[in-house]
């Protein structure tokens, strides 16, 4: 059917998790081990296939490699909608990331969720998620991408609400879904604007149409911003960021898979895919949203005490980075950061999951169900008890902080260089690099704060310490693997220079020129970034070490007292601790007015509309129907209907005699008729 091996593989990768989902959801519970081996074998198969594709991509080493396959989904005359699959280097890398992190999550979850009452359902949803995420990655058009986009939203909803007995989890899942809906409306409007102008959903057709000028100017800006709105929802960008921290109510492996590595990266992936159609204005919007998100989320993360909340805000901030990079034109750097971030952030989440697992276990031994196992103020000094978790998390923390020799340094450096060169060319937008470098400094600070509070110093609950153990090998394995992947070497091969991003990635993922006239060419952007590279590198190393140093002074050596600083910056601290009162303000100015309005409308509907209009209408109708009933009975029934019945009756009585019921009579009629017919015919 489909000859191309790449397309075949990618379709298998796409549908295998769906098969696992279907099996798990229907019969998973009755299988041995609740069927987790089905999901795991499916996902491992997809991982193997992805790795096979990844290796053949490296062997081919062709930056223009593209395979496309599509089929007609709706075919009504001139209205044709094609859906299809696009496989290029970006897709293959993304598939590898998704399946790798998904595999790790599956394996990690077997221990983390051991004994959970909805164990098989959890694995089923993981399969559904992997299916839909692969769908987003493989789509060659906006329509199927939108479908998978929504499926991802659904599986996110289901997984965040996995422990729906907890009100907070149920609310968080609703919040995540609804916030995403806000963005998705923009996405849909964007799709429709583009389809209206170009008449196709496929990316290649859209880019060709944009270059041909079928859609331009304000419409294109609006379409681009609309699509970006979808990305904002999914990638949790300011001001739609509110759902992601709450989504931490879900199981920690889910947070690692969806809310760190893949699902939230879908927004970035979307902006990456649609980059060629974004106008300069739209790009500016994208850049500012990304920059604001990066620094804003980082400033919240400083004061959070919940280990997963810190990571959640850090994720929001890093996603802001990627969006910022897309906005400033270095969108391959954004994708690079997506790749490295997926690895180290997933690892950090696994690490936090490992810590929480240990805490939970220890608290359980003590029969203490009051203490929050996720609160860092209850931790401290875990370094000795959990060495593998510690070292693996330290590697990833180094990576996220932007320490040289680690992956995050390379990608962050590429992002910051792009931002800096953008500001050099457009001095009006000097704030963008300020946001970028500021966020980098803050990130380094709070990540080490988290590490120190968790693993160093004295334990704040010493009686727990004897019960804190390293996690089982199913959980440590992914930690080990992903921790190793935080090293720079994996991303620069076959070159070994730790200060240059040059490597297979930059060779294979090359930026395209924007399809919109007026945007700088890919080469101009690249040259600018290259020019700014050294300055950006020194600055980013500087801010990273500044942040780390401050963190060491405050939380490791206690030279600076965190308490003093807290009181000195009281207002700012409160703002940060309370997440700038975003939820409260949304509640006060958005939700409550909406609810009030809804109540007022309901009152109008019920008291006025229903009672007077509907009931009055009912009365008039009933009066009319009485008249018409009278007419119906007296005129139509009595005269017309009964009259025709009487006529039919009379005729029937006359004809009844013919119907004697005797066959011979009928035969007589038939013969007579035949004779008459023959006679008539002969004349």
């Amino acid at each position: 059917m489909i000859e191309n091996i790449y397309i075949q593989n990618s379709l298998i990768i796409l549908f295998l998790p769906l098969v696992a989902f279907v099996i798990q959801i229907f019969i998973g519970k009755r299988l041995p081990r609740q069927g987790d081996w089905i999901s795991i074998s499916a996902i491992v198969t997809t991982l193997i296939l992805s790795l096979y594709m990844f290796v053949s991509m490296l062997q081919g080493y062709d930056s223009n490699f593209t395979q496309e396959w599509s089929f007609k989904w709706i075919n009504m005359g001139s209205f044709v909608v094609e859906l299809g699959v696009l496989v290029d280097n970006v897709t293959i890398i993304m598939l590898t990331v998704v399946t790798l992190v998904s595999t790790c999550t599956h394996i990690f979850s077997t221990k983390y969720l051991e004994g959970d009452i909805r164990y098989s359902r959890y694995f089923a949803y993981l399969g559904l998620f992997t299916f839909s995420m692969n769908g987003i990655v493989l789509s060659n058009n906006l329509m199927s991408m939108y479908m998978f986009w929504e499926l991802v939203g659904v599986s996110s909803y289901l997984l965040i609400g996995h422990w729906f007995e907890k009100d907070s989890a149920a609310n968080a899942s609703k919040k995540a879904f609804l916030t995403n809906r806000v963005g998705d409306i923009g996405f849909f409007i964007g799709i429709m604007l583009i389809f209206n102008a170009i008449g196709s959903f496929a990316f290649t057709d859209i880019f060709n149409g944009v270059s041909a000028g079928k859609i331009a100017g304000t419409t294109l800006t609006f379409a681009g911003v609309g699509l970006f709105l979808g990305a904002m929802g999914k990638s949790s960008q300011f001001p739609l960021h509110i759902w992601l921290p709450d989504a931490m109510e879900g199981p920690t492996p889910v947070s690692a898979l969806m809310h760190a590595a893949t699902m939230v990266a879908a927004g970035v992936y979307l902006t990456f895919r649609i980059f060629p159609l974004l106008t300069p204005d739209a790009l500016l919007v994208v850049a500012y949203i990304g920059g604001i998100t990066a620094i804003f989320a980082a400033s919240i993360a400083i004061t959070q005490n919940d280990i997963k909340k810190v990571l959640a805000y850090s994720t929001v901030s890093q996603l802001g980075y990627m969006i910022l990079a897309v906005g400033t034109g270095v969108y391959t750097a954004a994708f690079f950061h997506l790749l490295t971030h997926a690895m180290f952030k997933a690892n950090l989440f696994y690490g936090s999951g490992s810590v929480i697992h240990a805490m939970h276990h220890a608290l359980h031994e003590k029969h203490d169900h009051e203490t929050d196992p996720q609160d860092m103020r209850n931790m401290g000094g875990f370094r000795k008890s959990m060495p593998i978790t510690y070292w693996s998390m330290l590697l990833s923390t180094m990576a996220i902080a932007g320490v040289p020799l680690f992956s995050g340094f390379l990608s962050k450096d590429a992002v910051l260089a792009g931002t800096l060169s953008f500001a050099q060319q457009n001095p009006n937008h000097f704030l963008l690099p300020v946001f970028g470098f500021g966020a980098a400094a803050i990130t380094a600070f709070y990540m080490f704060r988290m590490m120190f509070m968790t693993f160093h110093g004295k334990s704040n609950m010493p009686d727990l310490m004897p019960d804190i153990h390293e996690s089982p090998k199913e959980m440590v394995g992914p930690l080990f693997l992903l921790g190793t992947l935080s090293l720079y070497i994996w991303y620069t091969l076959p070159y070994l220079n730790p200060f240059s991003t040059h490597g297979w990635f930059t060779d294979l993922v090359v930026p395209l020129d924007s399809a919109v006239p007026g945007n700088p060419t890919a080469k101009a952007i690249d040259d600018g970034a290259h020019h700014a590279h050294h300055l950006a590198m020194y600055l980013s190393i500087g801010v990273a070490f500044a942040g780390i140093g401050l963190s060491i002074l405050m939380y490791l050596t206690n030279v600076l007292s965190a308490k003093n600083w807290k009181s000195r910056f009281g207002v700012l601290y409160d703002l940060s601790l309370n997440k700038y009162y975003f939820d409260e303000n949304y509640n006060k100015y958005l939700y409550q007015p909406t609810l009030n309005l809804a109540r007022k409308i309901a009152w109008i509907d019920w008291e006025l509309y229903d009672k007077y209009f509907i009931n009055g209408f009912g009365r008039v109708t009933s009066w009319l129907s009485k008249i018409s009933g009278k007419l119906d009975f007296d005129l139509i029934d009595q005269i017309l209907v009964d009259g025709s019945a009487k006529i039919a009756n009379l005729m029937g009585l006359a004809l009844k005699k013919v119907q004697s019921g005797k066959i011979q009579n009928y035969l007589l009629y038939v013969t007579a008729s035949v004779i008459i017919l023959m006679i008539v015919q002969s004349f």
Partner: protein, 162 residues
């Protein structure tokens, strides 16, 4: 000579056919039918259809007519000497039948029939057998199935405790 024989056969056929439909006694009707069928067999001889003559005698005279006589005996009280029967709508029936005959005769006389006078009578049995096994095989198989079905159906229908 043969024309005389033909005339005799024809008149026997028609007169006994009239006897079939006009006789008051059911058993006389059956006997008349016997003569009619014999006469028709004779006509077949004049038409050089030797096989059909045999079949006519075997199936009609030997089979169907026997069946009919059995039927008459089973459905009438043998004790009563005369197995009488009654008719209905005889007047209008005769008028219609007569008209039918007139119209048919008109059609026959007015039509210019395609007619080839054959030279010699030939044996028909092998020809019919070949045709049955080749050209009309499907119909042959079908009719055998039908016959089987009729056999079973008749047996089931005639049982007392239906």
């Amino acid at each position: 000579m043969s024309e005389f024989v033909f005339l005799v056969v024809t008149s026997v056929t028609i007169i006994s056919a009239l006897g079939v439909v006009l006789s008051n006694q059911l058993i006389y009707s059956a006997i008349s039918l016997l003569f009619t069928l014999f006469g028709i067999a004779g006509l077949y001889v004049f038409l050089w259809a030797d096989f059909m003559t045999g079949i006519q005698l075997l199936v009609y005279v030997g089979g169907i007519l026997t069946l009919i006589i059995f039927g008459i005996m089973l459905t009438n009280k043998i004790s009563s000497a005369r197995l009488s029967q009654t008719n209905m709508q005889q007047g209008i029936g005769s008028v219609v039948s007569l008209w039918l005959l007139i119209v048919l005769s008109l059609v026959i006389s007015k039509t210019n029939w395609y007619s080839v006078s054959s030279s010699e009578p030939v044996s028909t049995v092998d020809k019919i057998g070949t045709l049955l096994m080749t050209k009309h095989l499907l119909a042959f198989e079908g009719i055998s199935l039908l016959l089987l079905g009729a056999l079973i159906g008749a047996a089931i229908l005639a049982r007392k405790e239906i």
